[in-house]
């Protein structure tokens, strides 16, 4: 079904492309948001990725690779968005952590808050590899293809991203008792 839509869209069928975009947009936005941690920027990156997809769809030789290809486009768009805003980082409004499903236990909410804070300290590259691995649940080989890097580098980047995340979490937890103590 998706393959047929891709082929039609490659031939200039905007409606087919609309159906493809509709099916992919939340998936792509999810990736962009997790890399950028900002909904406005994620909107821009998603738009950018879909714009690129339409523009370059005729060059996609294998219609079955549409999903992986769009991952690649949105990661690239997210990187650009992150880079563009670095110079004006003080103007970037970080989104507060989501409140979850409402049924989380208090300690789990705390974990999510910690993860949010720790995740922000990672580079876009590290966020991307973690997102593709743990959100998109992609194998390393596919991540390597999307990011256009060797599989070994994916593994290395995952290792360092996880290590940095753990270090940041530990720093966050060391900081919390001090703050509580100060408040008391």
């Amino acid at each position: 079904m998706q393959r047929d839509l891709v082929i039609k869209a490659q031939q200039g069928d905007a409606e087919a492309f609309g159906a493809l975009a509709n099916g992919a947009i939340d998936r792509l936005h999810g990736v962009a948001y997790r890399i950028l941690r900002d909904r406005d920027q994620a909107d821009d990156a998603t738009q950018q990725a879909l714009v690129s997809a339409w523009d370059h769809l005729p060059g996609l030789r294998d219609p079955d690779r549409f999903d992986a290809w769009t991952y690649r486009l949105v990661v690239r768009a997210a990187y650009k968005e992150a880079h563009r805003t670095q110079a004006q980082r003080d103007r970037v409004r970080w989104m507060p952590p989501d409140s979850g499903t409402g049924t989380d236990m208090p300690d789990r909410i705390a974990d999510h808050d910690e993860l949010e804070q720790a995740f922000k300290t990672l580079s876009p590259e590290h966020r991307a590899v973690l997102t593709l691995r743990y959100y998109c649940d992609l194998p390393l080989g596919e991540i390597a293809e999307i990011l256009d890097i060797p599989v070994g580098t994916v593994g290395s980047r995952l290792h360092h991203a996880t290590r940095h995340l753990r270090d940041a979490l530990q720093r966050e937890r060391r900081r919390e008792p001090t703050e509580e103590h100060a408040l008391s």
Partner: protein, 497 residues
Amino acid sequence: MNENELEQSLSEWMYDDQSRASSWVLGSVVAHARQHPNRSWWRHLLKPARLVGATGPGAVPRPGLVRPAFATMAIVAAFIIAVVLVLPGPTPEPDRAPAFVPSSPLADASPSAPTPTSRPDDLSGFDPNGGLVGSLWLRQGNGERDSYVTLHPDGTIVQVAKGPGWPVGIGTWQPTGARSLTSLVAWPDADPVNHLRPGFSTHRDEWALDEDGSAATLTWTARLQPADGSTVPDVSGASTLVRLQRLPLPPEAAYPSPAEPGWELAVGPMVQGSGSGGVAAITAPCDEPDESGTPPGYLVTHGDGTAFLASYWQGNGPGLWVPTGPDTRGLSSWFGLDPAHDLDNWPVAQLAGTGTITVSEGTSEEFLDEYEAETRSIEPMDEPLPAVDPALWPATGSVWLQPTDSGTAITAYLTDGTAVVRDPRYGTGTGHWQPLDPDTIAAWVAFSTLTSHDHLWSEATTGPDGDTLSISYKHQDKSGGPVETGQAEASRLRIEP
């Protein structure tokens, strides 16, 4: 929290942390797909009129747009860069060259006066006043397959194509007449969009320049060489080219051109007493707290007045540079390579400094931004390097093709002490090389894509015929990955009659 617990928490958090695209995103994208079925509409992205503000059936204005619309789409412009300290001293006069590059000193780095040589890719027919060398913009089709070509006076050529993957072709050229030439360019990224078909392609091009050298026509034949050994029919076509001109830099009158007195001093040895070229790593402004930082761009300034910039963010682009002072250089560069931010004809002027550079992003029509960026050199991966013996130093270029186990190929050209390498696995690398002895060179390169922290060191020894290289290399991800070592064989890319 152990490894598994962290991964589980991370996975749960990512799944729970839901987000959805704003409604305007899909509406605007679909509306523009309807409005621009020929897929050339992306050129409008270059203009301040923002996509999401467009009108038309289905277009949905974005509510509450905070940032200036222009900034979102347009700031991507080409980098400005510049380099670096120009070390004093005369250009060494080679009297003996390593066998891997036939002895054929390029007496004058100026593109207007290369020396006829007896090198295998014979330049004897080269008309020094024919204006063959330099950078040209290759127009093809509706613009989606445009590329930029730089012809170096030593017979090397680099071609940067537009589109996903930002592929780079590297090859060799030789004149066939006062205003004609033939070239052979190898493209290791045979399928830059999909990476579905390992292999590489070669393009054999026949060029004809017009009277003043400002434009050219080109007929090309592309041959795909799939890794599985299958045969694919050749594809041929024709393209037109226009010569790129450097963006004016103030004060214009102060700069010598490559053909004027004073140029040789300005392009004197820059790096370790080597050739007249130089390389600087350009680190974009970055306040990212992560230690890996932002992938830098790498700028090569060749002694012939051309430049090559490999940047993760902007892709690859050719350029032209001029000396702007005793320790500064100005650069105009072009990027037309980003599928989302096509930057056709967006030359950028920038002033160089020492250690830091002033980057002026803009176009010939519009100034965008100016900021300071740091430069740093590309280090040879802790390898000790002997002082270069001028007697060994060749000035001519050479082009090499190295097939890989995966069926792709690595291409590289070596010219005036600088090297540009295209490896589909790592992206585009730039760096230095120098002779170690008459038969051996060392080359150290850094790659500029997401793996920009990957460095490559290699020593290459020529075979008895000068057309083969035995290479030992080591590669490391500077973020701390293991050092990979290996051996490879490469062959000289040669134009067959």
